[in-house]
């Protein structure tokens, strides 16, 4: 029998990595991610998760909740934090119909951090990245380098930082496209994490 499995990232090519940089791209696809959907009376689930469409919030256990679409949320973080955030959601009172599924293996996830991150993203995505239109905590869905992505602004210590999700099978392509876009801004690849 083979060894116990470890999570294999969609980003399989080798890159020279750096621990820090003014603009950093990091593969964090291993992060636990769940998709929660509610239809009908969604108020109870919305109250529990606390992230209206287009915004994000931190759950009590530390998970990050993204209001990705009306009646739809992405919950991410450590496995324990996510489990705590989604536990019992399908039985929340008042919700007409709720489903939650583990999306960890279905979505590649990258983080882009740096002052020039908005300028870099302008090269691959048509969203308006200005602070009024995409403030810290904003969540959107858009094409990034012709790949449909969920995007969340999640600043790190006052520095603009963005989470970008896409279909896992497109992960390697998108990672390379982001490196190319960031090249003129001195982008470095950070060590993969989760």
């Amino acid at each position: 029998m083979a060894d116990p499995p470890i999570f294999e990232s969609p980003v399989v090519r080798s890159y020279e990595t750096a621990g820090s940089g003014d603009l950093m791209l990091t593969d964090i696809s291993a992060t636990t991610k769940w998709l929660v959907r509610a239809s009908g009376s969604v108020g109870a689930v919305a109250a529990r998760l606390g992230a209206p469409f287009g915004s994000s919030s931190a759950a009590a256990g530390g998970a990050l909740v993204l209001g990705s679409r009306p009646g739809e949320w992405i919950v991410l973080g450590t496995a324990d934090a996510v489990a705590e955030a989604v536990e019992g959601l399908e039985a929340v009172d008042g919700a007409d119909f709720v489903s939650a599924l583990d999306w960890t293996h279905g979505r590649a996830l990258f983080r882009i951090t740096g002052r020039s991150a908005p300028r870099m993203l302008e090269k691959v995505c048509s969203l308006d990245w200005s602070d009024p239109m995409t403030p810290d905590g904003a969540v959107a869905s858009a094409s990034v380098a012709k790949v449909t992505c969920d995007i969340a602004r999640n600043d790190a210590g006052g520095t603009p930082s963005y989470l970008v999700f896409c279909d896992r099978s497109l992960g390697q392509y998108l990672f390379d496209a982001l490196i190319d876009a960031g090249d003129e801004f001195g982008l470095v690849v950070g060590p993969a994490g989760g």
């Binding site: 294999e8 119909f97 048509s126 239109m133």
Partner: protein, 949 residues
């Protein structure tokens, strides 16, 4: 015309300490950093730069800028480079275009000898008949095609793209444009200032007087201290709905060109004015230049444009040119003042030079004629915004009429005035733009979920309270008492336009297309007004009555590379792809997916599956996770068969139809739990089926409680096929009884595979063999694949690719939607009529299929060529005997390694569908072969004993 380099000029932009060496038509030349190609050549004494398009007349500098129709050259692999604009670089290899054998001895100039026969419409009239000779005409005419040479092997360079959302975009960085940008930025707006030239400043750059130079320095300093994003050597090429702007940035540190797609809340149009040529005999002769060209050559690049000049001036800029010429040491032999009603009638001399100018009957010897006859208002961006500029005969140019509120004009486009008046108008325009942009920004924020919450009501739309600029009087100078060139890009003369009007092409839009006037490299910037004037004169009407052509994007020609931008071509790979690459895979691209086609010998892969066991990566197989209590209703609606009684742990095949009864997709769906199903689709249909399902749920059945989530790439999918597949799977699966009794064909189990929990395992396959399809969390797909390869080494396990699978499915007679069906194939044609339950209450396509139930439709059948060695081409026609009457077609064909013969599927007319029917197949070679319809779809194991084993 003798040109040479002057002493240092206070306004020059060249760095005389940096010499750049380059080649021009094979000869060595040098220039300075900051020179354009044209200024460097002019300084070296060159005065002929090109040959005209049709008559191959020698052409020299006319405007000395981007618009100069005479300065298109080849630079290395780049054709049609604008030598009046492109900065000189060391090592450039520059050459004249479309001349033979050389620029100075161009045989094609013989066209000029028959110019009276090459009038407008010559090609249309001459080469229409006889039609059979057109290929010959085409070959000859192609040798006369203008422009440079494109080398198809030129490597693709880095063209970039960027999106931007500035509050205000200012198109044009003359004094008014700069002031507009500064004022808007000072009011808090995010501003992008776009300048066509290599530096900001507009006409101040080549204005010699000290006050102008001081103003330019002041504006540049203010700009440098501001937050305005300044793009030089860039052009706003188009304005589209809602101020969507295309901006091409030619000079960029990392890209050859960058196309910026900007959504501006307010656009300020400040391109200044473009000096237009004057039409008279010999006006295209080398030595005839515009007044702006003279001033640019002298003041920007320190080039003395001639030795003895005549200046034809009708405005202050012409007067300034005369002053600049004298200061540069050029003898101004005569000044012909157009404001006094005087005109230039002819420029005379040998073809390549100017010797004399005739004005008012007086002949003056000169090698330079400087013309200041008036201005074209480049209203293009206003036209694109829906404005219809109005001609003012007193000022002899067009002015904006009523552009939309989010498009504002300033600078010379809006009127005339002293420098301080133009600057003040620009600043007022910038403030107005910022105010209006704030209102638009408030609206955008208020309606965007992710944006910061807005406070208060939307600001009121600011009224336009700018003091209008005055309009200086200017004589209407378009054509003299002689005829000359109107469009130097296209070699269209005023005679051509008069002739076109006489022939009935009296609408400016028709005349434009008939003569091609305004359709050349200057895109009407130099010739539109003269074209209109010529037509007006021919018709005896005013310019206002004739009107103008509609200026459409692009404002300035741009490269296809700029339009293409970066090459974004997403590709998908499975998590097992690294293994495939490391093991000799030959891939095939299927949609976005890069898939294993085979590993060297697909026939051997087939034999291994039939005798041992093989594994195939089928990750692209579409997968939809279905949750909710109303899933059976959904499945009953989507599929033609019945789903209400599918038990947990069971799998069922289904066929989907569009509402016209045409087969849309097929696949299997398994019930994983009471309210949890997994639907599979074809690989190519994954996205479309998801959209189809969501469309039904969101628009037709929003009350149904079903959530559909695409999980195609969340799972790595591996099909284990072959007589030893059960043995192999048993070695890696924990906790599932794999015996045929406990886990039968068309059942599903949740399993732990190679230590990976949460896998789904189906007893299905596409090869006709005993098969287990594993759906593994994708992050462990490679691990499970490698575990299977390792565990099955002694069983002879090997990978197989799409080609092997396609062969085996054909041997088994499984049809593929889109391959064996097409956009007209109704469900009964597949031979799956038992699965079409017309007694269901409803399903997509039911009415059409109920209608079709009584009809005789084409049918998919298995076909075997009588000669087992001949594999017909897919799409080969099935015909009646020796005729070409089409009775069907081959849809799939392969040589079967298992049967040792060709096997096919095809669609045939219903009367030919019975087993044993003899067919005639017409091959692409013209050969006709015999073939026979089989009793079953399956060529191999028709009873299905192997897959149920």
């Amino acid at each position: 015309m003798t040109m040479s380099r002057l002493e240092v000029q206070p306004t020059e932009v060249i760095d005389r300490s940096t010499t750049l060496r380059f080649r021009w038509n094979g000869k060595r030349f040098s220039g300075f950093e900051g020179d354009t190609i044209a200024s460097a050549l002019a300084a070296a004494g060159e005065h002929v730069f090109s040959r005209s398009m049709k008559y191959h007349r020698p052409r020299g500098i006319l405007t000395a800028d981007y618009w100069d129709p005479n300065l298109l050259v080849q630079v290395g692999d780049d054709p049609n480079v604008r030598a009046g604009h492109r900065l000189l670089e060391a090592g450039m290899d520059v050459g004249a275009q479309n001349v033979w054998p050389s620029l100075h001895r161009d045989i094609k100039a013989a066209n000029g000898l028959v110019s009276r026969f090459l009038t407008a419409g010559f090609y249309y009239k001459t080469f229409m008949r006889p039609q059979r000779l057109w290929p010959a005409y085409e070959r000859v005419l192609a040798t006369f095609a203008p422009g440079g040479k494109v080398d198809p092997d030129t490597p693709h360079r880095y063209h970039d793209k960027r999106y931007s959302h500035p509050d205000v975009v200012v198109a044009g960085a003359g004094p008014a444009g700069i002031e507009a940008a500064l004022a808007a930025a000072a009011a808090g707006a995010r501003v992008m200032l776009v300048e066509h030239e290599h530096a900001v400043g507009g006409h101040l750059r080549y204005a010699h007087p000290e006050p102008a130079r001081a103003a330019l320095a002041e504006l540049r300093a203010a700009l440098a201290a501001s937050d305005v994003e300044v793009l030089t050597d860039s052009t706003v090429t188009g304005r589209y709905e809602d101020n969507w702007l295309g901006i091409v940035q030619r000079s960029h540190p990392v890209a050859v060109e960058r196309l910026i797609k900007a959504r501006a809340k307010v656009l300020v149009v400040a391109p200044g004015l473009i000096e237009r040529p004057y039409v008279f005999a010999g006006n295209d002769r080398p030595g005839v230049i515009t007044s702006v060209a003279a001033r640019r050559l002298i003041n920007l690049w320190g080039v003395k444009p001639g030795e003895r000049a005549v200046v034809f001036t009708a405005n202050a800029d012409g007067d300034a040119a005369a002053a600049d010429l004298e200061r540069a040491g050029v003898e101004v032999a005569a000044v012909v003042d157009g404001r006094d009603g005087r005109r230039v009638s002819a420029a005379q001399g040998p073809p390549k030079a100017l010797e004399a100018v005739v004005a008012g009957g007086t002949r003056t010897e000169a090698d330079l004629l400087v013309v200041a006859a008036g201005w074209t208002a480049p209203t293009s961006l206003l036209n694109m915004a829906g404005d219809r500029p109005v001609y003012d005969p007193a000022a002899a140019r067009f002015f904006p009429s009523d552009p939309p509120g989010n498009v504002l004009a300033t600078g010379g486009l809006a009127g005339d005035g002293r420098l301080d008046e133009l600057r003040a108008h620009g600043a007022a325009t910038g403030r107005l733009a910022a105010q209006r942009a704030a209102a638009v920004a408030h609206r955008y924020q208020a309606r965007t979920a992710r944006a910061l919450a807005v406070t208060g009501d939307e600001p009121a739309w600011a009224a336009d309270e700018r003091a209008p600029l005055r309009r200086d009087r200017h004589p209407e100078l378009y054509r003299s008492d002689t005829h000359g060139m109107v469009d130097l890009s296209e070699d269209v003369g005023s005679k051509d336009l008069v002739a076109a009007a006489r022939e009935g092409y009296d609408s400016v839009e028709l005349a434009k297309r008939y003569t091609t006037a305004t359709m050349g490299s200057a895109q009407g910037k130099l010739e539109t007004v003269n074209t209109v004037a010529a037509i007006a004169e021919a018709r005896g009407e005013t310019i206002a009555q004739v009107g103008t052509t509609v200026w459409r994007p692009p404002y300035a020609p741009l490269t296809l590379g700029a339009l293409a931008g970066r090459m974004f071509e997403p590709v998908r790979v499975s998590s097992i792809h690294p293994w495939h690459e490391a093991n000799g895979v030959r891939t095939i691209q299927a949609g976005q997916w890069i898939r294993p086609d085979h590993y060297g010998d697909p026939a051997a892969e087939v034999r291994n599956v039939r005798t041992n066991v093989g594994i195939i990566d089928v990750t692209p197989l579409g997968k939809l996770d279905l949750r909710g209590p109303d899933i059976p209703k959904l499945l009953n609606l989507l599929y033609t068969n019945k789903w209400s009684k599918l038990a947990v742990g069971k799998v069922r095949y289904g066929m989907m139809c569009a509402e016209d009864g045409v087969v849309l997709d097929d696949g299997v769906t398994g019930r994983l739990g009471p309210e949890h199903y997994l639907m599979t689709t074809t690989s190519s249909g994954a996205a479309g089926v998801w959209e189809w399902v969501e469309n039904w749920l969101q628009t037709e059945r929003p009350d149904w409680r079903v959530h559909v989530t695409p999980v195609t790439t969340a799972y790595a999918s591996i099909n284990v096929a072959g007589p030893k597949s059960r043995e192999l799977v048993s070695r890696v699966v924990d906790g599932v009884d794999l015996s045929p009794e406990a886990f039968a064909y068309m059942e599903v189990r949740t399993a732990t595979v190679a230590g990976v929990a949460g896998c789904f395992m189906w007893r299905i396959g596409f090869t006709g063999e005993l098969s287990f399809e594993l759906h593994v969390p994708a992050g462990h797909g490679l691990h499970v694949w490698e575990a299977l390869m390792e565990a099955g080494a002694d069983l002879g396990v090997g990978p197989f690719g799409l080609e092997g699978q396609r062969i085996m499915r054909l041997e088994k007679g499984h049809f593929i939607v889109g391959q064996d069906t097409d956009g007209l194939t109704l469900a009964p044609s597949t031979g799956m009529s038992p699965l079409i339950k017309l007694d269901k209450e409803d399903f997509a396509g039911l009415p059409e299929l109920a209608w079709a139930a009584d009809r005789q439709l084409p049918l998919i059948v298995a076909i075997q060529p009588d000669d087992p060695e001949i594999v017909p081409e897919e799409a080969a026609q099935i015909v009646r005997g020796d005729t070409n009457e089409i009775l069907g077609r081959i849809t799939s064909a392969r040589m079967s390694p298992t049967l040792g013969r060709a096997v096919c599927l095809g669609q045939v007319e219903p009367e030919l569908a019975a087993g044993g029917t003899k067919l005639t197949v017409l091959l692409a070679s013209g050969q006709r072969i015999g073939a026979t319809v089989m009793d079953h779809h399956a060529h191999f194991d028709p009873a299905g004993e192997r897959l149920r084993g």
